[in-house]
């Protein structure tokens, strides 16, 4: 069983999974925050654009989005995210497009997590803030956003865990992450429960601490009402 760990670069594949997760998560957080601000903005067109993005992207299978990035944007439209003449351009392009696709997809969920955080803040908090003479932006900064952020920690944790597991979809556009290697091993060797076990364990090791961290953070920082 353990010879598999010698013959194949299992750790390297999980390292790719981690890289995909971290970069996509950062992207998703940035895009998702922008979307969330759009969705609560006092400008109707921004709200509608934000809602359109979220509803479209959230209801499209991730596989389709990644295939669109790789096939549509990279091969057909020839949009390169790396130097096309380098020797590793195909691999690098696919990795970067996978990150873009994962970020764009999970941004919709980040947006909704943040919005659910805003919804945990009772209307009376904003009214009290305005009634002592705080301006709109002061109320947002001092009263609404600090509470909204604390209220969205738990759902953001769920998005991060889903993102970690969803990086496996990147293997369909040729990114050598963990699940791709697992398929390769199963094809080359006799399929055994041991192989599944190693990879399943790998994902649990990645996601379990994230879950525990976010749960404890959200409990510790929760706003008591």
């Amino acid at each position: 069983m353990l010879d598999i760990l010698d013959k194949y670069d299992v750790l390297g594949a999980f390292w790719m999974t981690i890289k995909l997760t971290v970069f996509s998560a950062i992207g998703a957080l940035v895009i998702g925050t922008i979307l969330a601000v759009m969705r609560v903005a006092p400008v109707a067109i921004l709200r509608r654009l934000g809602a359109f993005y979220v509803n479209t992207v959230r209801n499209t299978p991730l596989t389709l989005i990644l295939v669109f990035c790789s096939l549509g944007l990279l091969y057909i439209l020839q949009i390169n995210l790396t130097d096309p003449n380098s020797s590793t351009s195909i691999v690098d392009n696919n990795i970067r497009w996978a990150i873009v696709g994962l970020a764009a997809y999970h941004a919709a969920f980040v947006c909704e997590a943040l919005r659910s955080g805003v919804n945990t803040v009772p209307l009376g908090q904003a009214e009290a803030a305005r009634s002592i003479g705080l301006t709109f932006s002061q109320s947002l900064r001092e009263v609404i956003l600090p509470q909204a952020f604390r209220g969205s920690i738990a759902p953001l944790g769920s998005v991060l865990i889903a993102l970690t597991k969803n990086t496996t979809v990147a293997s369909i556009i040729g990114v050598a992450e963990a699940s791709g290697l697992m398929k390769e091993i199963i094809e080359n060797e006799t399929a055994s429960f041991g192989v599944f076990f190693i990879f399943a364990l790998g994902f649990v090791i990645l996601t379990l601490p994230v879950g525990i961290l976010f749960t404890s953070l959200s409990r510790r920082l929760a706003v008591k009402r």
Binding site: G124, R130, S131, I132, L134, Q138, E142, K224
Partner: protein, 270 residues
């Protein structure tokens, strides 16, 4: 004055600003003129006229849904109005922006549900406005907050969070938070309705104290005791209209309108 003519004796009908304790006339503090507002088809404020003098305490009474909260909220523009004008100390309410925020700082508001900032300590609740709006130093705001918390009897709780306090304590902190802004007028929207009965008096006592010190107050409440003890006038609202304005004595012993009689019958029997 022994010949009381009901047609001209404003002081006994309560329709104009009540005189101050020395019998002198009061300057107007809140002037509401011809105010109308709809919620959809519901005409929730119908041509409201009311002037509240400096240092005057006005209690607003009326059945649920009669528009008392909406009127209160319109005075510091948490609700917009469609026509008419509202002015505070001679200044018309600005539409929005910085000027509105400045004016709101002069109008204290105490809500039924307290609405203390849940993520801030009691002291931070009281210092936030003075620091951000009045631009006081942290130390100065803190000293003032401690004095105010002492005054409303919750100084021992200053470092706790709102959820750790009883309802009565929270409402007294909410009053301190408003007072910290040095308001010209205080609005109270059913400040004791969400409280357990044994906590009602601790809040009313603070309010009676404020009234005695000469704070201008508009108080929506069904607490007869407070109205009799502290109010200069009672305003009775029904279906979006001001139906009757009278002194507390007059209103509770001899209400004129059928609506008021009916209303008093209901709240006095339980």
């Amino acid at each position: 004055m022994d010949d009381v003519n009901p047609g001209q004796a404003d002081r006994t009908t309560g329709e104009t600003v009540a005189p101050d304790r020395t019998g002198g006339a009061r300057e107007p503090m809140v002037v509401i003129e011809g105010v109308n507002k709809h919620f959809g088809d519901l005409h929730v404020l119908q041509d409201i006229n009311l002037t509240v003098g400096k240092g005057e305490v006005v209690v607003v009474l009326g059945p649920s849904g009669s528009g008392k909260s909406t009127l209160c909220r319109a005075i510091n523009r948490l609700e917009t109005i469609e026509s008419g004008t509202i002015s505070i100390d001679g200044k018309a309410l600005p539409e929005e922006g910085k000027a509105l925020a400045q004016l709101r700082a002069d109008v204290g508001m105490v809500f039924q549900s307290f609405n203390l900032f849940s993520h801030k300590t009691i002291r931070e609740n009281v210092t936030l406005g003075p620091i951000k709006v009045r631009k006081k130093s942290k130390a100065e705001a803190s000293t003032q907050a401690d004095a105010l918390l002492e005054r409303v009897g919750v100084s021992a709780q200053a470092d706790k969070y709102p959820a750790q306090l009883s309802g009565g304590q929270q409402q007294r902190v909410a009053i301190a938070r408003s007072l910290a802004m040095g308001p010209k007028v205080m609005l109270f929207d059913e400040p004791t309705s969400a409280l357990d009965p044994e906590m009602v008096n601790e809040v009313l006592d603070v309010m009676v104290g404020l009234a005695k010190e000469g704070m201008t107050m508009i108080v929506v409440t069904h607490e007869m005791g407070f109205a009799r003890k502290a109010a200069d006038r009672v305003v009775f609202m029904a279906d979006g209209q001001v139906v009757e304005v009278a002194t507390p004595e007059e209103f509770f012993t001899a209400p004129k309108s059928a609506r008021a009689k009916d209303f008093l019958g209901k709240i006095l029997t339980h």
